[in-house]
């Protein structure tokens, strides 16, 4: 699920071909991360009391958390592949959940609960999309760097959410939202996680099989070249910011579905987690390269670490240290392997 130019295929004998194939598989970033995750899971399972790490409740918690991180990381990876970044995702998530929650509470019992929830979903995604469009206009039209633009949006959206709620998390979200979506499962899998994975798969397919993916990567690889060949860079810039923020809005709706309330102070660092997941998974911060499988395993790496360290009763402070160290190691390994290939 990597969208970049594949390596050359050359004619060779079966033994060297096998060796080449094995080396290629183990040289794949996603495979390397999966190997690390298997080791981590084994370690946490061994150290956790009564093998609680692989308990049904913990696995379910991991999968639910992953549903939100996956959505944010997918949007972030798309932006990064185009040479952009969005550090306002967490704030967009918060504001979207607040606007959606307030809308559902305002509708109350005036409409059937299914309609209320559907309106809440549309409002959450719509709020995110509008905020994404604002980001895009500042980046694409005014010409402000995306880091600076989304830093402004991070503060703006967080502030608006706090003003709108007076700093108090919402209550009165329809209970059916949690029962029918937030806590619902299909087989062993939580519905929000399935939704996240399906959306990620759709974005991957669009990247792989339509010109949109190639154009987005081209913008990250050489923006001027993309413009010169006639790619509509402004339209595409607006599209990817709207997509990313719309996904953050959906993540906000999942928040409401999971907890039946908002979490106004709980998501400000979510963008960092999403950026870390994309980077660990092999998406280039400088653009031109994206790895969707890497996004998935990168998102799970941070969540496994977080969950495992909690279960073995280590201070939360160590979690952030571990995730930061993992990010630095992954990016350093990536850089050194690329340097080896180019020298």
């Amino acid at each position: 699920m990597t969208a970049a130019a594949p390596n050359a295929s050359t004619s060779m004998g079966s033994a060297p071909a096998l060796k080449h194939g094995v080396a290629r598989v183990f040289g794949n970033r996603a495979v390397q991360i999966i190997a690390v995750e298997v080791v981590l899971i084994a370690v946490f399972q061994t150290l956790s009391p009564s093998g609680a790490f692989l308990s049904e409740a913990n696995l379910r918690g991991i999968l639910l958390t992953a549903s939100q991180v996956l959505l944010l990381a997918a949007g972030q990876a798309v932006l990064m592949s185009a040479g952009q970044i969005d550090i306002s995702q967490g704030a967009v998530l918060i504001l979207s959940s607040v606007v959606s929650g307030q809308m559902m509470i305002a509708m109350g019992t005036s409409s059937p609960v299914g309609v209320v929830i559907l309106v809440g979903l549309v409002v959450a995604i719509g709020t995110g999309a509008v905020l994404g469009a604002v980001n895009a206009l500042f980046v694409g039209v005014v010409g402000i760097n995306s880091l600076v633009t989304t830093l402004g949006m991070l503060s703006l959206a967080t502030g608006i959410a706090q003003v709108a709620t007076k700093g108090v998390n919402l209550v009165g979200i329809p209970a059916e939202l949690a029962a029918g979506f937030g806590s619902a499962t299909i087989g062993a899998f939580p519905v929000p996680t399935i939704v996240g994975l399906v959306i990620l798969a759709v974005i991957w397919a669009l990247y792989r099989y339509t010109a949109w993916g190639t154009h987005t990567l081209a913008m990250g690889s050489n923006f001027l070249a993309a413009r010169r060949v006639g790619i509509k860079t402004l339209v595409n810039t607006i599209g990817i910011f709207v997509l990313s923020a719309g996904l953050a809005g959906l993540a906000g709706f999942i928040d409401l579905a999971r907890y039946s309330t908002t979490n106004i102070s709980g998501h400000t660092n979510d963008s960092m987690a999403a950026i870390a997941a994309a980077l660990i998974g092999g998406t280039a911060l400088t653009g031109g390269r994206i790895n969707f499988l890497g996004v998935i395993v990168g998102a799970f790496l941070a969540i496994i670490l977080q969950s495992g360290l909690v279960i073995i009763n280590l201070s939360p402070f160590y979690q952030t240290i571990a995730i930061g160290a993992m990010l630095l190691v992954a990016v350093s390994l990536d850089r050194s392997s690329r340097n080896r290939r180019t020298t």
Partner: protein
Amino acid sequence: MSDAPTAPREVLGISGVGKNFGAVRALRDIDLSVQAGEIVALLGDNGAGKSTLMNIICGSNTPDEGEIRVSGQPMSGLADAKRLGVGVVYQDLALAPHLSLTENLFLGNELRRGPWLDRKRMHAEARAAIEKLGISTLRDVRLPVGSLSGGQRQVLAVARAMKWASDLILLDEPTAALGPKQVGIVLDSIRIAADHGLGVILVSHDIPNVLKLADRIVILRHGTIIADMRPAGLSVADVMTVMVGDEEAA
């Protein structure tokens, strides 16, 4: 590349074009006509206005005054240039290093089957376009452009411009990073393109090869055309003298 007959017709008409950058008058009173099948070399010293004129002809820049017509139709902007079949080799090549050779060749002109990319056909056509230029070192069209040598990238940029040009092709220093063999291949390709009826505008500092290849030499100085001549009988020194002017040459 079109296989249209090569009857003389104007593929590029420039009349009264001027361009200012703030207080600097980069171009003034530019009139130029290029016929189908004609190779016109645009020469001039640094700062003479060659790049500005090329950027205007390829649609990257718009003139402050005057008019550009490609095959009789007014042109302003990159979208027009693409629609009217203007192929361009930029000096910086305008390639995306992370994308494959095929993806670069078709960038902005992808072949589709419905909404989906037709990668198989694009790879096949990319191989054909490269083979047409006789480049034996560019066998794998799936390679990322970042892994190609400077010369290979240059050839790819030329192949792309040739593939999409239907009436006019602009080449800004197309042989700058090439070895002698590849220079020969690119120059032959330019001649073949002209023989197929394309109008060619070539910016190059390689005056000996320009004298061999071009049908006309247009010399810019201080933002305006000071000479439009046939290369027959001219030496490199003659051209240099016109380019830099008597006062500088003295």
